[in-house]
Amino acid sequence: MTPLKKIKAVVVSPRPDIAALAGRSLPGLNPRVYTGAAGFISAAVSAPPDLAVVDMDLPDISGRDLLLVLRRNAKTSGMLIAAVSWGAKSATEVSAVLDTGADEYFILPKDSALVGPRLANLLAARALRGGDAGAREEKPLKIGRLEVNVVSRTAALKGRELSLTALEFDMLLYFSRNSGRVVSRGTLVQQVWKNELGVNLRSVDKRIEVLRKKLADSGVNISTVFGLGYIFKA
């Protein structure tokens, strides 16, 4: 296994206690500390770290948005990322952070004792793969009683596969990847219909109605926001 001192680690948090905890958790790690995303991203563009411990409550960008940015960009998509938050979080919030791409999520101070062993496990698993991030495995997304499997392009409700058209699956997948976020109808036309000719906002509204019916009893809702967009959440 790569000696800890050769692992490039950073902590991105305005809280000195979080930086100190990360440093104590793996003696020899000596992480570089950034108090906000700006300094971290500036450095990550040229030299991405092996491991980033990222506070979900940053002053300049939400932790979940930072995760999105890091996972969408080739330079940083393979980085090990441990999310941290201070204070209680709901299961839905934890799930959303993990689905956005965090490899671990620590709720402090409750999980303080777990930080060291779990970071060590992450690093050991990476070392077993020869230090190669490799392609990140696309895990099924679980929201409410629904499980959305990207690889097989299926969705199941309590183990029973839902009958969805390809478009309905694409819409469900887009919503699942953006759960808890307001999605405009225009974004759906671009991202799901890929700006197909002849698609208008009324078409989007109709498809949403059909998908809502198929998701009845799934524990997830697609709510309309001011008649202009939709939000998908458990």
Partner: protein
């Protein structure tokens, strides 16, 4: 959040995608803020100069100029240089986020966006 007996905070939202413009405005109005709207960079600059908002929520991909250019012009004008700017965009390229955060914007929100997080961020940027 605006409190009773406190002056109502004014927020300018600049976005050419009218669905997001009106969603953001609707959320902010429901929280008790006074909201100004614009759909181009030029209109946004004019509204900032005339209205002196307490915060600007600014899309990057505007039809007449980049939101980063709008931010740069705001910072150059003494009348508007103190207006905090929250960038609000579908774009998530690393180089752009780096440039945006280095431009003096107080924050960066990726669309589609979490409405609860958005309102918390707005409240925080208005306080600081």
């Amino acid at each position: 959040m605006s409190r009773k007996n406190s002056p109502v905070k004014k927020i300018l939202v600049v976005d050419d995608e009218t669905d997001y413009l009106n969603i953001a405005a609707g959320l902010l109005e429901a929280e008790g803020y006074a909201v100004l709207k614009a759909v181009t960079g030029a209109d946004g600059l004019a509204a900032a100069g005339a209205g002196r908002p307490d915060l600007m929520v600014l899309d990057i991909g505007l039809p007449d100029m980049s939101g980063l250019e709008v931010n740069r012009r705001l910072k150059q004008d003494p009348a508007t240089s103190a207006i905090p700017v929250l960038l609000f965009t579908v774009r998530s390229e690393l180089d752009l986020v780096k440039k945006a955060l280095a431009s003096g914007a107080v924050g960066y929100t990726v669309k589609p966006f979490d409405p609860d997080q958005f309102l918390r961020d707005v409240a925080r940027y208005l306080k600081s």
